[in-house]
């Protein structure tokens, strides 16, 4: 929990994901393209966690920003010869931010199912636009031939996904730093306040609605960057980055990992995508059965997601050890 009384210093266990990622780079060189994909989704999930977990905005339309970012980068690289990866990222971020602020300002006065449907409608409309504007987006065939110049003029995206992995890892690391910083700032504390007790935030004079629009825009920007990363890694954009499915998948990943705990956004995509990848290789026609069971089990037995469960165990463990200590005395 972030706030005025929490220590913003990075705790040792927070380095764990990065150690694992770097270890994976050296130990599992064959899985790097899956790894890069996972990293992109973690960033995407982080952006969702910011609004869902910290500001309490429920959405099925986050893919609108992801997809817009992906297409912005893709169109620049394929049609306009803007091949610099950082320029592409920047443009994607801007485009997503613009969409975020304009849609957020309209829909954030609503709540629950209504908000869910509005976000869904928006991403569906964006999807239809992408499909219709096939001269720009390639329509359902996808946008191929996206040119991405070597990063810093040095590192070309290679077949093994090494560059992609490191590139995504660095992007994710920066995104994580940023979000972490944000969450520990007064702004983050304020967000927690809104989620915990919106009425109370009104009563201390916070312009809640505008703050929500702001955080929604920030989150959209980040999702846009994640989308652009996916484009750059694949040098291809397909319509599947938009619409209900990616939004739903993302939501599932995040809830699976644990909402509103920062690292839920790390655990969820890792578990989901790796489970999917593994199951799909074993049972290509029925793998989603396993995912379904996983979801139901999580809902019934681990309400706070996987990290919630870990927390419970941890607490039970420390209770037992403290009571053991107490009885020893």
């Amino acid at each position: 929990m972030s706030g005025y009384t929490s220590d913003p210093r990075i705790r040792p266990q927070e380095l764990l994901p990065w150690i694992i990622a770097i270890a994976a780079f050296f130990l599992l060189p064959e899985y790097l393209s899956l790894g890069a994909r996972v990293l992109v989704y973690i960033l995407f999930a982080l952006s969702l966690d910011l609004i869902l977990g910290y500001a309490g905005i429920i959405t099925l339309g986050h893919s609108a920003f992801f997809g817009l970012g992906a297409y912005t980068a893709g169109i620049l690289g394929a049609k306009y010869g803007v091949t610099d990866p950082f320029l592409q990222l920047l443009a994607a971020a801007l485009a997503a931010a613009l969409l975020g602020i304009s849609t957020g300002a309209v829909i954030l006065r609503t709540k629950a199912l209504t908000l869910l449907m509005l976000t869904l409608a928006i991403t569906s409309i964006v999807l239809e636009i992408a499909n219709k504007a096939s001269s720009l987006t390639g329509g359902a065939d996808g946008l191929s031939g996206v040119q991405v110049a070597p990063i810093l003029g040095l590192f070309k995206f290679d077949l093994f996904g090494r560059t992609a992995f490191i590139y995504c890892l660095v992007a994710l690391f920066l995104g994580w730093l940023l979000i972490r910083r944000l969450l520990y700032s007064p702004f983050g504390a304020m967000l927690t306040g809104i989620r915990e007790n919106t009425a109370r935030m009104h009563a201390v004079g916070a312009p809640v609605y505008w703050r929500l629009v702001l955080v929604y825009t920030l989150s959209a920007t980040m999702a846009g960057v994640a989308g652009a990363l996916l484009t750059q890694v694949n040098q291809f954009v397909g319509l599947n980055v938009l619409g209900l499915e990616p939004s739903g998948d993302l939501l599932v990943m995040l809830i699976l990992g644990g909402v509103g705990r920062l690292y839920g956004a790390f655990v969820g995509p890792v578990v989901y995508l790796i489970a999917q990848d593994y199951l799909a290789k074993q049972y290509p026609e029925y793998w989603y059965f396993g995912i379904g069971v996983l979801l139901v089990v999580v809902v019934l037995f681990a309400r706070g997601g996987i990290l919630g469960l870990v927390d419970q165990w941890w607490q039970a463990l420390s209770r037992r050890s403290s009571s053991a200590r107490a009885s020893a005395r």
């Binding site: 429920i58 309209v106 829909i107 006065r109 609503t110 709540k111 629950a112 199912l113 209504t114 869910l116 449907m117 509005l118 869904l120 409608a121 928006i122 569906s124 409309i125 239809e128 499909n131 209900l244 739903g248 939501l251 599932v252 809830i255 699976l256 909402v259 026609e285 029925y286 989603y288 059965f289 995912i291 379904g292 069971v293 996983l294 979801l295 139901v296 999580v298 809902v299 019934l300 309400r303």
Partner: protein, 272 residues
Amino acid sequence: MILYVISVGLSVTMGLMGFINLAHGVFAMAGGFILSTAMARFGLPFPLAVLVAFVVVSAGSIVLERLLYSRLYAAGELAQVLFSIGLILISMALARLVYGNLAAPVFLPDYLRGQVHILGRDFPTYRVFLIMFSALLIAALWFGVERTRWGAMVRAAVDNRAMAQSVGINTRQLFMATFALGSGLAGLGGALGADILPVQWSYPFEHLVYFLIVVAVGGLGSLRGPFVAALLIGVADTACKYWIPEFGAFLIYVATMAILLWRPMGLFGVRA
């Protein structure tokens, strides 16, 4: 039009019970498969098979309700969403395992095929039948909900659950029955609609958005809301596809957005 019958069922469960049941399409799919099996394997006539679909799906839903759903009434909406998505995935895999890849074949009896001549134009018989049937169903539901003691009890339970208990209503049992009815309606819709919306294992996911739109636009906690919404969206969608087919796919979403921004609680929504 068949979406309406299915969605009315959803508005019963979701609206009355406040459970975000994304897995509603599962029951519709089950209805379609049961119909197909009843007709193909057991040679039941169409009307009987439809009835069987309704009954079996209702009964099955009670089991699910007791085992799973009832544990989640008090859970947050996120948990409900996640749970019902899980259920969708499981049911899709099972349906595929049992019924294979193809859509369930459904053949209408001859008397429902062809066209009827009304006011100098031809209309497909089955569609006319469906519209009439839905209208009858709605009328029956409306009567049931607005004019019977059972309906009054359901509405009372929706209005104020604690108070409903305080006048001696067993809300748990009532909700179970309501859930069964809602699911049964979905099964009925799936069965009746199988000719138009082919029933295949991917069904619950494919049509999810439509169900949600109908319920959201209609408004939670209302029975006529989803009906009106389904009609409105259905007619508008059809008209739009007829007049300006280039924008066919946009319309439904644009309309949804417009209505929800105009009336955030839906057309007839009562619950905040």
